[in-house]
Symmetry: D2
Subunit: 336 residues, 4 copies
Amino acid sequence: MIIVCKNTASQEKINALIKELEDKSLQVHCSIGTLSTILGVVGDTSKLDIEALEANEIAEKVQRVSEPYKLANRKFHTEDTIVDVNGTKIGGGFFGVMAGPCSIESEEQIIGCAKSVKAAGANFLRGGAFKPRTSPYAFRGLKERGLELLLLAKKETGLPIVTELMSLEHLDLFNDVDVIQIGARNMQNFEMLAELGHCNKPILLKRGLANTIEEWLMSAEYIMSGGNENVILCERGIRTFETATRNTFDISAAPLIHQLTHLPIIMDPSHATGKSSLIKPLAKSAVVAGANGLMIEVHPNPEKALCDGAQSVTPEAFADIMNDVKTLCHFEHKII
Amino acid sequence: MIIVCKNTASQEKINALIKELEDKSLQVHCSIGTLSTILGVVGDTSKLDIEALEANEIAEKVQRVSEPYKLANRKFHTEDTIVDVNGTKIGGGFFGVMAGPCSIESEEQIIGCAKSVKAAGANFLRGGAFKPRTSPYAFRGLKERGLELLLLAKKETGLPIVTELMSLEHLDLFNDVDVIQIGARNMQNFEMLAELGHCNKPILLKRGLANTIEEWLMSAEYIMSGGNENVILCERGIRTFETATRNTFDISAAPLIHQLTHLPIIMDPSHATGKSSLIKPLAKSAVVAGANGLMIEVHPNPEKALCDGAQSVTPEAFADIMNDVKTLCHFEHKII
Amino acid sequence: MIIVCKNTASQEKINALIKELEDKSLQVHCSIGTLSTILGVVGDTSKLDIEALEANEIAEKVQRVSEPYKLANRKFHTEDTIVDVNGTKIGGGFFGVMAGPCSIESEEQIIGCAKSVKAAGANFLRGGAFKPRTSPYAFRGLKERGLELLLLAKKETGLPIVTELMSLEHLDLFNDVDVIQIGARNMQNFEMLAELGHCNKPILLKRGLANTIEEWLMSAEYIMSGGNENVILCERGIRTFETATRNTFDISAAPLIHQLTHLPIIMDPSHATGKSSLIKPLAKSAVVAGANGLMIEVHPNPEKALCDGAQSVTPEAFADIMNDVKTLCHFEHKII
Amino acid sequence: MIIVCKNTASQEKINALIKELEDKSLQVHCSIGTLSTILGVVGDTSKLDIEALEANEIAEKVQRVSEPYKLANRKFHTEDTIVDVNGTKIGGGFFGVMAGPCSIESEEQIIGCAKSVKAAGANFLRGGAFKPRTSPYAFRGLKERGLELLLLAKKETGLPIVTELMSLEHLDLFNDVDVIQIGARNMQNFEMLAELGHCNKPILLKRGLANTIEEWLMSAEYIMSGGNENVILCERGIRTFETATRNTFDISAAPLIHQLTHLPIIMDPSHATGKSSLIKPLAKSAVVAGANGLMIEVHPNPEKALCDGAQSVTPEAFADIMNDVKTLCHFEHKII
């Protein structure tokens, strides 16, 4: 950590700060310039509170130089994490494709959808039972009944299932769910993250709408610090000034995440763009940029979807996308 | 609502869409141009799913023309809402100042702080017992013990108290809390919002880091649609590209909110900027821009604060800010 | 165009507005709802001033439904534009790779670099003679001397050259330049755009740091409306809240641009990310997302580069990137 | 400056880098941690190229700790700069109000407007002769004729005039203009900035749509480094995800700018919000936040304005705004 002291700081105050840091078993190196004094602090600085240091009257600027996450950090865990979901793997050389409708609407819809995405090559079934909606007047999912239908579809097809948890109060209903999804709006629901650290299921952690990659990894760290290291990251677009797409798909996150962490990352072009016509080119780009998987919304009849129709593709379009995805996975030496 | 049809849309498909809308008791007016046909849909469109319409193959663009919120809408409720917190009012001509430490640290700290902010003119005491922190390794508040100390300070000073709820599981502990705060990261925790709609306490709803004013009002609508109309909005800075301040203080929200809704709005320059040296000018600007109140972090010793020290002001600095705030409230005909 | 009238608007004022529009040979369809009246305006609305309409006291909201660009619009020109740069084509099925150093530093550097990028498969040489720099104290390019060296490299290798124009006053020096680049910071230098409309050279128009896709196409329209239809668009990252990469690479721009316009688009992962380690995965993703070409910074010795070293790749790394780019172009049926 | 070395960096490479820096007369202090080595570089680092350092293979991160601007820096020039525009002062305790139409449309319009804004208390007349417009089909100002009319209005009222320069080619026409305005889109038109450094007129430098405060000050530095120290900064809103206002008015810029630089700052709520109904509260907030002046668009008949009507206020509304502005200036001890 670096502390730049104001040029008005007295030597006495600087010494007091150095002593305070040394008392915490840190080493402090002092560079005295004409305009400012720079303190280089080395040792385990992860417990130092950067805000408290910034409040020190002599501090002009405080900057962390090492990442604030440890368990998620590639530096301390160089091997790729491969998450094993009851036999279906994701991470490292294993590519996972999670497909299905935004929300589960009926037995016919979810089972039909499950069969067609499986036939096209998906290895996970996704579907929403509890749906976060901006409007209190919108359809918020079939809830318990939705979970039952999803489990039926799992039984029918053998596909492991992924679905979103919106409140810890529903956790008991998720016993037979294979992967618990944390939505973008709950990425910093710290109470939920902490609790899921004590659960033994893989967690799919979506990136918040306006969260940095560092904050995202800190949320993964929350889960991991509770003991659950099976975290799969999911990029789903970030909020920017551009309105031509619903969000801006941050494709750079795929290669960058691999430098920073050992956790797998999948990418969701459906939520990122909100436009079904963009799913195919972006799904392909995600594969070659290094993603470990994809999440794609598929609906038998997008026009009649109760939610997110504009970004859903038909089963036929999905099969066409998967043809290219499989070829590109082969090119990238990924097993799908 | 406006639906712009693609220029490739057949008349048959357009007619089918018109019929579908008319079957929902809506009126549809059709404007045929050379490049596109525009459908103007009037009637109660609040239940129409914009996404489903966008998924219609003939739709090029779908735009809402009326606001999607009703209970929060100034159009249907022209009088300012005045929230009465056990006798202390906020909204309309009543100005509320919520001051206190980011987190409650000890009996001495919170009681000392409560007395000094009261003396300076604050009419609410704020303090965090449960703290949302980006890092799982940071101090997360004194929790239950923090609430007990806050209640002590309330008893000692008579100030109504405001504190953040981070999980519905803690709700039972909040019986004696006067105003429940929903933090920025939970602004779209829809399960929590829905539940608080059934509670009879005023809710302080902070704007999410990257949420639009419309989304913010939709979150207020969630609470109101459950029956609880005592919602106080709180602007606390939005995330932008600028890094010179922690967030960007959206001062325009104050006058704009008054055009859109009857709910009161307070402003929090402490979280907006992260810099104690900016609190005074921004607090003053909020008063004259039309805010109904302020939220300001005050700590007896910011350097030793366990949280948010860099943005906290001392009791002396707070008293100085309040001098100007009172003068400007007088100029604005606000009662403080 | 849609005009939503305020619910307080008198019928008289609405009629006056309708008449004003009809006098401009537009047709107006009126949808009367309980809360607002919607006017659907059809005909050639491109000359209507949206801001003047918004200033009308009865207007609550005014929305364009057709794109404000015409010459650049795919709707009126369905065939892909193929720009022919003295025999080297870009657009449609032709893929262009523009590579070279951020700034031209010496004869040895630019000629060595030109030879190695040509050997690796680049079909254009890029290099900056006039350099936009945030600081007045930084190296701003070799200027005229830089152009001379670039022309030497063109002579030596036969590669057409691309270089940035920073001021119209330098235009006379660009006679032998093959493609004139307009940098991100000049994307809305309207005087420059208008002037380049009268020039007969292809223009590479970089997207502004914080410009929407619509604004970008309007800048292309500026050039085209002057008579020069040889515009190549270049996505180079947009400014967002994320600081882990220099900018956010908007990969969605590639497929979206193809829906909106017939002009070719190339992508520049070097400026988009500022990190050489991300160039390869992002260059690959651009190819499969539908880009018509790439712009990549290559420097023989990035550590000694006078500008943009951190984002430059070595000639060896570039050759490695090109191996994958060629394979993926083949997969996409693009000729390189 | 701080250089964090990768933990894989050899001692030999680190020593080589230290030597390279010491050869530039800089002092280097080395802090060796278990995970990384931190180099603290002190001395005049303003000429060091941060990008070249980032390209060094052993560098993990490079951070500047001192501001890259010198002439504009408050640290080296503690007194407020007061710009004297032919007798009318702005900066320090002098408050400047620049009012007038977005574009000059006729003799009657500009002279009428000038008289009414002067009567209301404005001390500068603003008006656009050359107008930057997103669309090539929009009205781009009366150009030379506009300047002539503006000079007539100056003669008639004695108000100094402010108008935008869009191209260096027009500079000769600006001889009798009192303050040259650089628009947001030209804030990083470095050739123009450098040239204006050699001119002896005050420059009004608008902040770019998506430029940081640091970049803005670097643009001021460009002008100052050429010898022209009469720079007035103008905040006019930044681009964010929020669409309820045209831009987001960054009110924090006023107090923050005063900490960073001695240059005066004025604020433009008209362009910041695009909504005339928000001008009054935001103008007031700017005064108490510490601005040295205001820029406000006034038009005798906003509905008929050829440009920016939606954000223009009438002369009557302007007089009403000025009443409050004067009272608040008095409260702030500013002379208007």
